[in-house]
């Protein structure tokens, strides 16, 4: 079951780190970084059911 309530202890710290990680990258590099991040996190999670839920929520957020 995908957690959608707040689960990050310091949300602002994470968000800042996320944006900082992209600093000085080209758009293409940023796209590849984002993709790498998704792949790393997906592998860490390792649960297809949770991942499918996340994929559905993510898609619904842009194409309801």
């Amino acid at each position: 079951m995908l957690i959608t309530e707040t689960n990050l202890p310091a949300p602002d710290d994470f968000y800042e780190a996320l944006i900082d990680t992209h600093r000085d990258l080209s758009n293409e590099q940023s796209q590849e970084l984002n993709a790498a991040l998704i792949l790393l996190l997906a592998n860490h999670l390792g649960e297809m059911a949770v991942l499918r839920e996340a994929l559905q929520h993510a898609r619904a957020s842009v194409a309801p």
């Binding site: 293409e28 796209q31 590849e32 984002n34 993709a35 792949l39």
Partner: protein
């Protein structure tokens, strides 16, 4: 002795008595198409005692190297048909693949990391050699009658078979086949004649094949580059073939002009960019291809059965085209033989369709996924692809996502109606429906291979450990031979077992290294029923003649 130039061979058309017969000539099996699949089907049927007529509209074998990667499973099938060693002797064996991204190697994989198999993961061999050796074997087989320049132009489907109209240099004639096997390729004329088509995806990409003859010191491995400096934004695949010929596939993209792309002035710079300016080479063969992943909805239409590219097509990454066609041939041959002999109902042929349509779906799925990785269809797909390749250098998890082709493995017919589901507990890979794994064994005092014992009939393998089974069991094993569908019993004994008391007619092997027992999760008493195509039909922890008979009935469509 030098090699035969199979590409230059021309086969004479010969007029056959059927063409002037006053009555319609009748044959049990007619096969259309003398490619690797048609020839394999013909050889398998012929060796099982079925006479076949093999028609081909041409008078030559394959032009160009075409399908070059023949899998372990294909070699095992050809071993059973007596032609595997010849392929091995000429072919280049390989197990290792390497993947490069931009300037760096990101992954190296071994497709056969364990010893104890007779055959390697793959050999590379030009299709004309493979066809040439199959042809030579077929031409020595009295049960096969090859007719060149015989073009099927009409088929009439009846209850008891198919009537064909065939055009020859001497005009047209008709013949009747109880069964027609269409191995006539991706553009299958037989498929068109019965108004059927394949459905699937066409990929909007073009690839250039260049076969290059050169002295080079690349190792005998499959090398795949994503976005290399010498061919930016595209992929390149390098394979070694016999005779110092190297296959290079350059991805060109959809917008490439196929006529311009094959001109030497456009091909040579691409090759020089890969090899460097100092490597001398000659161009052997150049071609541009596009590809599709598609299949017929049904592989059986009454008495017409489709096998190989006529039934299904895949993209070339994964070597799943010719290899799956050879597996079609093997699946069909024993079933047709039993049906023709009246030992199995005609519905057994439906299981060919069920099993091979399942296998085709698996092949299409694998090759479509590889194609989507190699040829990303969108910017974001390319970003993910590149991210996988970037991560693969240092993060093992990402290597499992790298997809330069999931190389051909035989399908496990897990849901097949021919399987007897397990009633006893087993672990390991040898589930009902799987292809029997090979292992080294000792037979009549000499080193041998397990698959060599599975030679085209049903086999009941009984693992007996270090003590021979009792007399009753031995008699029951011998009696299996006398059943309507004969079963050959093979005893698999441990190294301490005294085989001298064994009745002479009962074949036995010694599992000296314990490798076979381990691969089959065997204990003393374990029994496996293996189909003529070397797929597992059933397994038990103890031998029971009635259970074996029931499983044979099931595996032959009689239950």
């Amino acid at each position: 002795m030098g090699d035969i130039d199979f590409q230059a061979m021309e086969f004479a058309y010969e007029k056959h008595a059927d063409q002037e017969a006053s009555e319609l000539a009748r044959h049990r099996v007619v096969i259309v198409g003398a490619g690797p699949v048609g020839l394999t089907t013909a050889l398998d049927l012929a060796r099982q005692g079925v006479r076949v007529v093999l028609l081909d509209d041409d008078y030559r074998l394959s032009t160009g190297s075409r399908a070059i990667c023949f899998s372990k499973r294909t070699l095992e099938i050809w071993d059973r048909l007596g032609v595997g060693q010849r392929m091995m002797d000429k072919g280049v064996s390989w197990n290792v693949g390497k993947v490069f991204f931009r300037e760096q190697e990101v992954w190296r994989f071994d497709l056969l990391p364990e010893p104890g198999h007779r055959r390697p993961a793959f050999i590379n061999l030009q299709q004309y050699y493979a066809e040439g050796y199959l042809y030579e074997q077929a031409s020595q087989e009295p049960n096969i009658e090859l007719r060149w320049k015989n073009k099927v132009v009409a088929v009439e489907h009846g209850e008891d078979g198919v009537t064909l109209s065939v055009e020859t240099p001497d005009g047209a004639y008709r013949l009747h086949a109880d069964w027609l096997v269409a191995c006539d390729g991706a553009r299958s004329p037989v498929r068109k004649l019965i108004g059927q088509e394949s459905h699937g995806r066409i990929f909007r990409d073009r690839f250039l094949i260049a076969d290059v003859k050169m002295q080079a010191d690349f190792p005998t491995e499959r090398w795949f580059w994503f976005d290399p400096p010498f061919h930016p934004n595209q992929s390149v695949l390098l394979h070694r073939q016999p005779d110092n010929v190297w296959r290079i596939d350059f991805q060109l993209g959809w917008n490439a002009d196929p006529v311009e792309a094959v001109k030497p002035e456009n091909v040579l710079p691409r090759i020089r960019a890969l090899l460097g300016p100092d490597t001398g080479f000659e161009l052997e063969w150049v071609s541009v291809y596009t590809f599709a992943c598609e299949r017929m909805d049904k592989f059986r239409h009454g008495r017409i059965v489709f096998a190989g590219d006529s039934a299904h097509r895949v993209s070339p990454f994964g070597a799943r085209g010719a290899n799956s066609g050879v597996q079609d041939a093997e699946n069909l041959a024993w079933k047709l033989k039993l049906v023709l002999a009246g030992r199995a109902p005609e519905t057994l042929i439906d299981s060919y369709a069920v099993e091979r349509e399942y296998a085709a779906d698996e092949n299409i799925l694998n090759s479509s996924r590889a194609t989507d990785f190699i040829t990303p269809k969108s910017d974001v797909s390319r970003s993910f692809r590149n991210a996988v390749l970037n991560l693969a250098k240092t993060h093992p998890f990402a290597r499992s996502l790298v997809n330069s082709g999931r190389l051909s493995l035989p399908a496990t017919y897990a849901g097949s109606p021919l399987n007897t589901p397990d009633a006893d507990a087993f672990s390991g890979r040898m589930v009902p429906g799987a292809v029997a794994l090979d292992a080294p064994v000792e037979s009549r005092g000499a080193p041998d291979w397990w698959l060599g014992q599975l030679d085209g009939e049903f086999v009941l393998a009984l693992f007996c450990g270090d003590a021979l089974p009792g007399r009753d069991t031995l008699q029951a094993l011998q009696a299996l031979r006398l059943a309507p569908v004969p079963v050959k019993a093979v005893l698999v004994a441990g190294p301490q077992c005294d085989l001298s008391a064994l009745p002479g007619e009962l074949p036995a092997v010694i599992d000296r290294e314990g490798c076979l027992g381990q691969r089959y999760d065997a204990q003393p008493g374990t029994a496996y029923l293996i189909r003529p195509d070397q797929h597992i039909a059933a397994r038990w922890r103890a031998f029971d003649a009635a259970a074996v008979a029931a499983a044979v009935n099931r595996a032959t469509g009689r239950a």
